[in-house]
Amino acid sequence: MATIALCRVDSRLIHGQVLTKWLGQSDANRIIVMSDMLMQDPFMKNIYIMAAPPGAEIDCYGIDEGCEHWKNNQFGKGNVLILFGDLKSLLAAWEKGFEIKKVQIGGLGGGPKRKAVFQNITLDDHDVEILKELAAKEVEIFFQTIPEDTPQALSQILKKY
């Protein structure tokens, strides 16, 4: 089975912060993106795969497919950085057996009805609902955009919402 070096929710999926900071920081040699949206956009998927730095392998799965791989062999080998694009996808994967115990929230996008709670991370009511649901499943959730941030616990974050 693979070791999960980091599981992160980041609306930009693979981008500068992830490649320059988190990949090295977490000592991961693989990135797995779990996103149904990305699977519907093969061109974008190829852009991410092309962006793989030397020594890192990138796999993109839909939620169902990713959970199948998890159930079969816990993603096989290596140190894996797992990326979800939004909380809904993370919850869907959890309910399909990807019972991750620790999750980093790195960015959830923007929009008119969203409130900034830490750095550039925003939440809406729906996100808060999902976060509470995951916390009830004893998932440790922390908010951190880059390694230099002090990780913020969910309980602290919810006070700011």
Binding site: R12, H15, L19, Y48, Q119, N120
Partner: protein, 142 residues
Amino acid sequence: MGSPKAEILILTHGGWGEKLIDSLKMIWGSTDRVSEIPLIAHYTFDDYFEKVKGKVAQMAEHSLIITDLFGGTTSNVSAKLSQDYNIQVISGLNAPMLLEAMMSIDTLDDPQTLQRILAVSQQGCKDIVGEIRASLKNSSVG
């Protein structure tokens, strides 16, 4: 009136490309057809995509996008736009790259131009102290 003129669009994290454009104005003069769209920290991928698309939709064919970081959102957004628009995209923005691109702005439709811009930008990266030492060593041997 001829065909619309090609442009250069710079995409950087935080907008440092704009400073670079200002600096190159000192060396090259006119930078009328060079512009910048900064990637601001709170933008989502879609926010930035829409902003860049708005500009790219108005640019002539063979216009050139230069991004700062391969694998970053600036590059990913440009790559996605290349699906729908006839544009060229290179990454690794530096001063020699932008200068060469500005000097070549009227021949961006020539495939060799892009190769030359990439070569010049890479040739601009040197281990300066190493180069000096090598040259001193060579001259003392000679």
